[in-house]
């Protein structure tokens, strides 16, 4: 009996480890940013490029930062949910338009001059928001993705919840699904707003 017990225990342990390991999503890398202040930046706004937006403008509010781009397919998937979120007025949504022109593989961004790139990015972003609805109180324009690096963006869409003191409380990688919205975002926002 004892002869078979230990191999059996070993086998069960292995199966459990593999089941847990294979069930994890390797793309969900824990962000070191959670619990730390949201990195500062100052970027032109998509709707009003002569004005800049900085995260410190949102101090005193619990807010959501959503990284998006018109070329990002998953952003389209989450967009209706963001529109819904905005309608509920649960919290203000700020967009970070990430590498609108350079990130689009169908454009040869090397051949586009910086001025033209900004113009093109603004046109594309605004047109897209007009067509699909704009859930954001405003969007900031991160043309070269430098702010994205500070936020540890490695796959669009990404979503951050930032508290009243400007501390990042949650980072969600990938599209916001109804499940993520109701199970992760809403309870956290309710708690942070207490």
């Amino acid at each position: 009996m004892n002869r078979f017990l230990w191999p059996l225990i070993g086998f069960v342990v292995l199966v459990v480890l593999l089941a847990v390991g294979l069930g994890l999503n390797p793309r969900e890398v824990p962000s070191p940013l959670v619990g730390k202040p949201a990195p500062a930046f100052s970027l032109p706004q998509v709707a009003a490029p002569e004005q800049n937006f900085a995260p410190k403008d949102m101090l005193g509010k619990v807010w959501l930062l959503n990284v998006w781009a018109t070329w990002c397919v998953s952003c389209r998937e989450e967009h209706p949910i963001l529109v819904e979120l905005a309608k509920n007025k649960a919290l203000p949504l700020v967009g970070l338009n990430y590498k609108e022109v350079r990130g689009d593989g169908s454009l040869d961004s090397d051949k586009i001059a910086p001025d033209a790139e900004k113009k093109l990015a603004l046109e594309r972003a605004n047109a897209w928001l007009n067509e699909h609805g704009n859930p954001y109180v405003l969007s900031a324009l991160d043309l070269d993705g430098r702010v994205g690096i500070d936020y540890g963006v490695y796959g669009v869409p990404e979503t951050y919840i930032i508290d009243k003191a400007g501390i990042v409380r949650l980072k969600h990688i990938g599209p916001v699904t109804p499940d993520v919205y109701s199970r992760k975002i809403l309870p956290l926002v309710a708690e942070l707003n207490k």
């Binding site: 793309r27 824990p30 070269d144 690096i149 540890g152």
Partner: protein
């Protein structure tokens, strides 16, 4: 990003090769033309390689740093080898920081503070990584202990069974008996 024209060692070398190639007869020239046609017609190959940094020392440091870092988009590739968009951006960032005089450790910390320990191919030794670092050693020692215990137990299970006087006699008789003739 604007590209400044400059000539690297590799480009000069390539140019020399091309000249030699052109001079090496008409067959070589035909092949060269074919290659040229393919590379002009096929848009998949038309994107140029990203420019190297101006000086070789920077590029060497860039490769040294970035080959120790994981690309988060294609996670089994290093930042130095990956062709992902993000890897390009991060390499550019590392170049900028090298130019700004940051040390290798500072650049690594910069990446870790944004993307976490996951970007490091050599994870740091700390509470949450103890099992990762010493797990294989523990498994090895555990296996060794189990093996030694098993061998000892088996040794003690094998009993020495000397022959009795009668058996010895029988053995002697069998060994000394002449082989029967065929």
């Amino acid at each position: 990003m604007m590209r400044k024209p400059f000539t690297t060692e590799a480009q000069r070398h390539r140019e020399q090769q091309r000249e030699r190639f052109l001079a090496s007869g008409s067959l070589g020239f035909m092949v060269f033309l074919c290659v040229l046609c393919v590379s002009v017609v096929n848009p998949a190959f038309s994107k140029e390689a990203a420019p190297l940094a101006q000086d070789e020392a920077t590029e060497k440091r860039l490769v040294a740093i970035s080959s120790e870092l994981r690309c988060l988009v294609c996670q089994n590739e290093s930042l130095s080898g990956s062709n992902a968009e993000l890897a390009h951006d991060l390499r550019r960032e590392i170049r900028t920081q090298i130019a700004a005089g940051r040390s290798d450790a500072e650049i690594r910390d910069f990446m870790v503070s944004r993307y976490g320990d996951f970007v490091l191919y050599r994870p740091p030794l700390k509470g949450t990584t103890l099992l990762l670092w010493f797990g294989p050693g523990l498994l090895f020692v555990g296996g060794l202990v189990a093996l030694i215990r098993y061998l000892r137990r088996r040794n003690s299970a094998i009993k020495d069974a000397p022959l009795s006087a009668q058996e010895r006699e029988e053995l002697e008789r069998l060994l000394s008996a002449k082989e029967p003739k065929k």
